[in-house]
Symmetry: C2
Subunit: 405 residues, 2 copies
């Protein structure tokens, strides 16, 4: 079996992207025991660091040991009892995922949809809430499948008025786009490391409001068949998953330190380093950087004679969709970029499959050299495929953005 | 925030233990894209490597992205339909965990128990199967809470005769104790990396027989509400979890490469390295090594005037339980070992809490120097706590084992 020796790819798609070197180094740190005071100290640090990342005072801020999808499932399966109504406004592929996960948890899911490339107005969400009266509103912030960023700032107030729990999956947007857990009155947020936080997939930070925690505590159940005094109403309300049972996970992260899973220490080291890296740069600075390089990539793409996809006033900073020109084979261009230039860009899903490419500028790769190399290489392969454009315009456009022209 | 700089602990408890340095290095390798041909090549290598680790020809051999408990839940929730009967023979804490997870998946769980420190005879299991007629037999191989190793070799044949699916959680035993998936006729096995494989918690290799796969394929369901042609029987049989939906995970690891989660690449690198490391040493050699150092630790502990816990003819090679002497404070001894010597040993759970310590010798730490340092240090703290023993006998006993005396 060969030694692990992957090619030095530059990952300029919708994520995962290249990790920050310091994050990779953190993962190669030797382990300590699960209940070592140094380890529980690190767990407490992680809680505090992600309170800052999420901009929240929520005590219940911790990691789910799995990919970002594990975070989504933990949040939903812990709060949804079979038959509960959940409203999912869908504006891309990851809205469908929220629907799917909520359905599996036993929810009666109601959806509203806008065409891919658009986002919802607060009134549309409020109308649906009035009609459906859901227990939970579950909504993606940044859906990489369409590159759209759903404004969330007016929805928390609406949810409070109708006594709805407000959950958002901000995996693709956190760190590169504004996010305000407390100010926007969110009850639950889940993310992953593999986008703007510049880590690998495999750990899902979440934060939960007191309202959310109070609700799921009523479903508390201690392992090995012992019923808690909080709940004697039988099977109906028992959380369907042990792994994703948030009350139990809270007991593990809390002062009780009740054994649940064995914490994935290397991924915890990694999540810790991702947060420190972000906070040392400063969240606002990091958003500005994502905006700058995202703008440079978008302007550069226009210089390649590529048309931008979707509502540009509601776009994520960290990924841009461009229509694949009709005269070229989209997958062949992607392969050539990978094979000749070691650069990866993304295709898309569902209705956009084969129609758009997605160009990411996030985390470690929200960098000038990464943007310029990508544009130059894309120009080369497009030119050789017969696509016409003005030579050098892509890079010139990007450099114009950087010089503030 | 401080730089990540944990103390150099020697982890001689029941796991997690120190990682092999090469495994830590693998995790700091830069990422590549999720569908990069090099990445799918690594995924295929991982399947083939773990076929060797599990000693199976099962095509369905892959990783669940989570801790070992995630592997257990994926196996159980995918095959259990609400109301299915599951038999769990319990001989320690992790049997209770299987019960708990199966119950949450909706199973009607039946248990049989032996006192902690013992294992089951095949007849006991067969009698229960005859009486209960379960769909699934779920059983731990090595339960670290008691240090017992349940013989599994006669149970597969019994399961076949009564048409029962045979699942074992071999997290704590794999790599350090014999395990034969195909020869013992297992239908599903799940493990973790953090014991004899010498990695961190966070990835759960599993292997599934064709019989298991055929069964769960009937519950196949493609994301976003699209029903498969294989299954039109309505909600009852839909798998309750998206994250742990094995048919979907098989489509991701198989040639279809249908998007499910974003593979946790760093943990996959890690799982790959753990397997290569084991196979380069040779599974049989690795088991012999675990037996050697486990014996040295046990004999050494007897030299400390400590009584061994449980049925020594059915003990795991990689962990030994010793009664805490009545005249010492068990937790104080553990704290002193940690603080003065940077050595961690384990306490236990449930009925054994405060009664036994658990001394592990596994993976990277199944080494002569690790055993000798642990015994010497334990001798020092026990001596200073007033426990009487013959000076130097522990190390002499261990050295006797190493010299074949």
């Amino acid at each position: 079996m060969n030694r692990l020796n992957p090619p030095p790819r530059l990952l300029m798609g919708p994520g995962p992207i290249n990790c920050y070197p310091r994050v990779l180094s953190a993962m190669s740190t030797q382990l300590i025991g699960q209940y070592d005071p140094v380890m529980t100290g690190y767990m407490n640090e992680v809680m505090s660091l992600y309170q800052q990342v999420f901009k929240t005072n929520n005590q219940a801020t911790l990691l789910i040991d799995g990919t970002s999808r594990a975070g989504i499932e933990a949040v939903l399966v812990s709060c949804i009892e079979p038959g509960d109504k959940v409203l999912v406004p869908i504006f891309g592929r990851f809205g469908h995922l929220l629907q799917e996960i909520a359905e599996r948890a036993g929810a009666e899911v109601h959806t509203i949809e806008v065409p891919w490339g658009e986002v919802f107005q607060p009134e549309q969400v409020e109308d649906a809430i009035k009609k459906i009266r859901p227990k939970v509103l579950a909504m993606v912030q940044g859906d990489t499948s369409t590159t759209m960023l759903q404004p969330l700032e007016h929805l928390g107030e609406i949810c409070r008025r109708y006594d709805v729990l407000f959950y958002s999956d901000a995996t693709a947007s956190i760190g590169g786009n504004p996010f305000e857990t407390d100010q926007w009155q969110l009850d639950a947020v889940s993310v992953g490391l593999q986008k703007c936080l510049g880590g690998p997939s495999g750990s899902a930070p979440i934060t939960l409001s007191e309202r959310y925690v109070e609700l799921v505590r009523k479903r508390h159940h201690v392992e090995a068949g012992i019923r808690s005094e909080h709940h004697e109403n039988g099977e109906a309300s028992r959380i369907r998953s042990n792994y994703f049972d948030i009350p139990m996970i809270l007991d593990y992260w809390g002062e009780e330190r009740l054994n649940h899973h064995t914490e994935a220490t290397s991924m915890l080291y990694c999540a810790r380093e991702c947060a420190i890296n972000l906070l040392e740069e400063g969240i606002e600075n990091c958003i500005v950087r994502h905006k700058l390089h995202g703008d440079a990539m978008a302007k550069g793409a226009q210089g390649l004679n590529l048309k931008l996809f979707g509502d540009q006033s509601n776009k994520m900073t960290n990924v841009v969709g461009v229509y694949i020109p009709e005269n070229v084979d989209g997958e062949k261009i992607r392969s050539q970029l990978l094979e000749d230039f070691n650069i990866e860009i993304g295709t898309s899903f569902g209705p956009l499959h084969g129609k758009i490419w997605r160009l990411g500028t996030m985390g470690y790769n929200a960098r000038k050299d990464a943007v310029l190399h990508t544009l130059q290489s894309l120009e080369t392969v497009l030119r050789r495929a017969g696509h016409s454009m003005s030579a050098g315009a892509a890079v010139d456009n990007a450099l114009g953005v950087y010089s503030g022209a």
